[in-house]
């Protein structure tokens, strides 16, 4: 048996941050990983998808380059595109050197499938690791919907899609969440005929409804077929193609034939097979139960990242991992703060979010006003011929920022900024009065907030009796 101060299960974003942080402070740390250090995000998630989206952006820009007076015809070497995506994914990992950094920090890495033997002991690959504290950071996996015949079909999830040798002639996508939507745009722009099947009434159900609708319109304009309120009932492989049979909103059954199928029907936390039931750690299909300190029902066992089922973003996993580290080490525990949980769907334009959506503000009965700014009136967007989109800032009393949803090129950077305003307790007056670089994209936030400052000026005028100045 090997003894450690900490045993961390999972070598993705949450596990890496926890293990490296603890080891950096001189503690003994074991890290258990089933497959490759880096996790879903590095190998089959954020990283390869952004490379593919970048290729797709390039292809689209070339396709409309005549708008700029740049005349080009061209073909897509789809094998080379997919090869480049894999090359860049590998390059990202090579430059990060995470495994070496972990080892150099003093983390001992064990590859294999872990299983709890007791509340302090984990078996992996024939060894038993004992830890005073144990962190579960096992991540999540794609949901594979049962009873629709998937087992008889050669389909992809995000774990296989980036291994394709080339861009398929057509692609069916089951699921209209961030993965489905990003891949719909990427493959469509690179030449696939894409059909997206979404069971609900709109894509990106966690995002602002209006902006998700606008994005759906943009995707449809680019040629993506989006089917809403549709239930995939059955998939079947025929010679070289896949038939997707689905129940349409109007009650009819339709068959769609595609050359490849991506299943992006949500993600489930990796909780099975760990032996949690034997040691008193509560969990269900939505994740491992944790309290606000990220402790499981066994206080010295913690769960962070996708495995606890709260959020599925690597930057949020990092927040949780840092907190877990502090809470394991320090006598006074802090509650987790998600800072408004910013996220982005990296389509072009990007759809980004932080804090409350307009719909959430309404549902919570909060007094609020929505400050809206069309990208069509933001100078940089016009100058780059990328002027589709809308900035929405949801503000409460005193101009307090409750949230923001932005559909725009570089909207991820805008919500990064809004995050800082929120954290500082700033309101729209600061968004409006701080001099954003002109003409940056973020300057659009300033324009969105300007009406608040104008209104404030008028109120001051009345309150302090300054009208009299007008007559002087």
């Amino acid at each position: 048996m090997k003894k450690f101060r900490f045993v961390v299960i999972g070598g993705g974003a949450a596990g890496i941050v926890t293990a490296m942080g603890a080891a950096g402070m001189g503690f003994s740390v074991a890290l258990i990983e089933k497959n490759r250090i880096g996790g879903e995000c590095s190998w089959t998630g954020c990283v390869p998808s952004k490379a593919l989206l970048s290729a797709a952006k390039e292809a689209r820009r070339i396709g409309r380059s005549s708008d700029w007076g740049l005349e080009h015809g061209g073909i897509v070497d789809t094998a080379k595109v997919m090869g480049k995506v894999r090359e860049l994914t590998q390059l990202t990992a090579d430059r990060a050197q995470t495994k070496s950094l972990l080892e150099n920090s003093g983390v001992e890495i064990f590859f294999g499938t872990p299983r709890f033997l007791s509340a302090n002991e984990v078996a992996v690959n024939g060894e038993t690791l004992r830890g005073r504290d144990i962190v579960i950071a096992t991540g999540s996996s794609p949901v594979r919907p049962p009873h629709i015949g998937l087992e008889g079909v050669k389909y992809c999830t995000n774990q296989e899609i980036f291994k394709l040798d080339e861009i398929p002639a057509s692609l069916g996508i089951i699921g209209g969440g961030p993965i489905g939507v990003e891949m719909a745009q990427a493959f469509s722009r690179l030449g696939s005929r894409v059909v997206l099947f979404q069971s609900g009434p709109r894509i990106l159900p966690k995002d602002d409804a209006e902006l998700a609708g606008q994005l759906a319109g943009i995707l449809r304009g680019e040629g993506v077929e989006i089917k809403l309120n549709i239930k995939v009932k059955d998939v079947a492989e025929t010679s070289r193609s896949i038939a997707v049979n689905a129940l349409e909103a109007d009650g009819s059954m339709t068959e769609t034939t595609v050359s490849a199928l991506l299943v992006a029907a949500g993600r489930q936390p990796n909780v099975e097979g760990l032996g949690l039931e034997g040691i008193g750690v509560d969990y269900n299909s939505r994740g491992i139960k944790v309290n606000e300190y990220l402790q499981t029902t066994v206080p010295h066992i913690w769960a962070c990242g996708d495995s606890n089922g709260k959020y599925q973003f690597s930057h949020i996993a990092e927040v949780e991992a840092r907190l877990t580290l502090q809470n394991m080490l320090l006598p006074i525990k802090r509650k987790v703060d998600y800072f408004g949980a910013p996220w982005t769907t990296f389509t072009d334009p990007e759809l980004s979010h932080v804090g409350l959506t307009e719909q959430e503000a309404i549902a919570q009965g909060l007094r609020h006003r929505v400050y809206r700014q069309q990208l069509a009136h933001i100078d940089r967007a016009i100058e780059e011929q990328e002027d589709k989109g809308l900035i929405k800032i949801i503000a409460g009393d005193g101009g307090k920022i409750l949230g923001a949803s932005v559909l725009a090129t570089n909207s991820a950077e805008m919500v990064n900024e809004i995050l800082v305003h929120r954290q500082a307790g700033f309101g729209l007056d600061k968004v409006s009065s701080l001099p954003h670089v002109y003409p940056s994209w973020g300057y659009g936030l300033q324009r969105a907030a300007d009406p608040w400052l104008v209104d404030l000026g008028k109120k001051w005028f009345v309150r302090f009796g300054l009208e009299i100045l007008r007559k002087l």
Copy 2:
């Protein structure tokens, strides 16, 4: 004679904001403009240059699209490119509708050349306008270096360059400031052979020296010839070309022949011909003298924007205009705060700045440490094959942010964020611990700041005797 509460001279960024703000509060306002509402930025500065740079970015992406497996050959229809730039400039103005907005706010606009008759009276186009307060917002114009023979040559400044019918075969640029550098990249990428003449030892002398050097390297790599420490002595027009004779750093004279010439040798405030000498407003060739409240030497005459010679950015002009408006209206005056004066040179990658540069921190003898993060290790930059650049955050005691200089795609957005941190009094701990969306460009800031938080953790550990925990 027409009486107004405020007379504003100049219809650029500073004048528009002042006039519209005052009119919006119900005051009578006259605005005098020589030429077109919008100013240098809207017609011959920021706006058309960004459109041209956007076309140039497109051309470059097409040129290297085979990196992505997108095989294309192509030609540049340079007349169409220049036409598109003008079209987008016009579109930006049309959508802004500034003139209508001003008039609808109640501003009375007078076109013509203004001249002070007294400290309260301005003559324009046969009329006399009387104002209790007068705002000078006349902007700046390109410097036209004397004694080098420019008068005998058909050359461009930023006021003429966007009127070119097509991209010239070759372009000489006198001056290595933001305009010269942006245009060097734009025209080079669109097919010109570009030679840039810079009298000093480096381009962009107000920016971080290291990053300006890196940008020069990038431009040279793209084919721009940059000549440093060189004095242009004489220019002369021959049949269809222009000969630029210059004294090289080694004392030799060289002749460079180009088909077009751009003079971008700095800007001078528009102060001549206003009749300022007759009314006691002090000024010199560097601008109109103002105090910290932006009052000239005649207290009810104010100067904001480029005319006061402090900064030459439209977003800073806005800051000054808003302050001027407040100081004119309210009994208690506030001093101008430039919020670290952020700016960006919109090359690709962008070079952006806020607060102190490393060189300024050294010159001021401030205790500081520079936190550096190569873009080559930022995931998004790798995934987009845009990984040239460097983030530098200059931090003082307690991780306080003194400034930042960033060479990166979208670095303008990053300094927008840093601006908010500075304003909130946040230090590197917040930059590191707030969850920037992964993989945004701004996530690079978080990575740059991480070492500070790691060091802080270690210090806490020692200070609070937490090492004992390691042995438990």
